[in-house]
Symmetry: C2
Amino acid sequence: MSKIITISREFGSGGREVGKRLAEKLGYAYYDKEVIEAISKKTEIAEDYINQVLEHRIVSYYPISIATAFDAFSFDPLLEMNQSIYTAQMEVITSLAMKSDCVIVGRCADHILADYSPLRLFIYADMDSKVKRCRERATEDENFTDRELIKNIKNIDKGRANYYEQFTGNKWGDIENYDLCINTTKLDIKNIVDVIAAYVSK
Amino acid sequence: MSKIITISREFGSGGREVGKRLAEKLGYAYYDKEVIEAISKKTEIAEDYINQVLEHRIVSYYPISIATAFDAFSFDPLLEMNQSIYTAQMEVITSLAMKSDCVIVGRCADHILADYSPLRLFIYADMDSKVKRCRERATEDENFTDRELIKNIKNIDKGRANYYEQFTGNKWGDIENYDLCINTTKLDIKNIVDVIAAYVSK
């Protein structure tokens, strides 16, 4: 059976870096945005919209690219569409995980793949450290004040928490849903990845 | 400066085993009950009573061995005595940590030693796994039903959580107070200790 590592992460905590490095070190497949692409392909719904649903941001419009995805007489097309995203999300994640050893970032993969005993990581950090990381990777045209940036980080994590809770019935970031919770504020990501890789390889 | 590892742990999660193995592997000093002994020596208060205060169990008596610890006319001798335990707890833990590299289990050491940047571990497990571990290490005269055992485990952890919250103002078991949270339910303690030791030695 495939070895599976799932990564849930606070925005700006370096969770993606952990995932990428871990996959590289172990020679595992790495799935992050690929999950969204595959759901989009399966459902014919725009990637942007899927992203919004999965990050639980409120949506007030129907994405243009989905004209054929539901008929005009359905009772609640938005609900129906979101339902098809949830279903595709489960199918896509399960199918990717069955292909080969892999690292999957976000998208409730820990819960979806529970029967396959994934190693479930939660990556987090304190706010100062997350702000610093966001600044380092920001593009030139990003001009957020610290206050705006903190608000954004909180909103994104709130969306992730809400979606996780709705989808799984569990609390996002609560230790009992994970095998290892790693605070990247003071720990060296490269070193911690090395030791997780060593643990997985044992 | 000393390298310090603090371990907070749910009852029955194997936190003590993690601490002992880690200290052994790294050649660090290991402090667990030694903290209580040292506080007792410093305050002349009975170890059993100190243990009860630190585990936040309600006490309705004055331990016999403390006759000289306060005079009969104090306003609230119990409060005064507990205060002297808190003070001694801080002094003892700081003093032990300054001696040499060490692993300290429980007793709010993570908070007391915050200025010395300890590696703060939280060790936990699911209830089934904790019950199993308690059964394995039980003495022959322990005849708890599962229900009683679960109640005991919950009570002990509740006491630890209350004491931690009262002493530190923070929530016990909340990820933000730790660097690494390790769920021992499915992980192999020996292997995980090896990799933490490898991380610390880097």
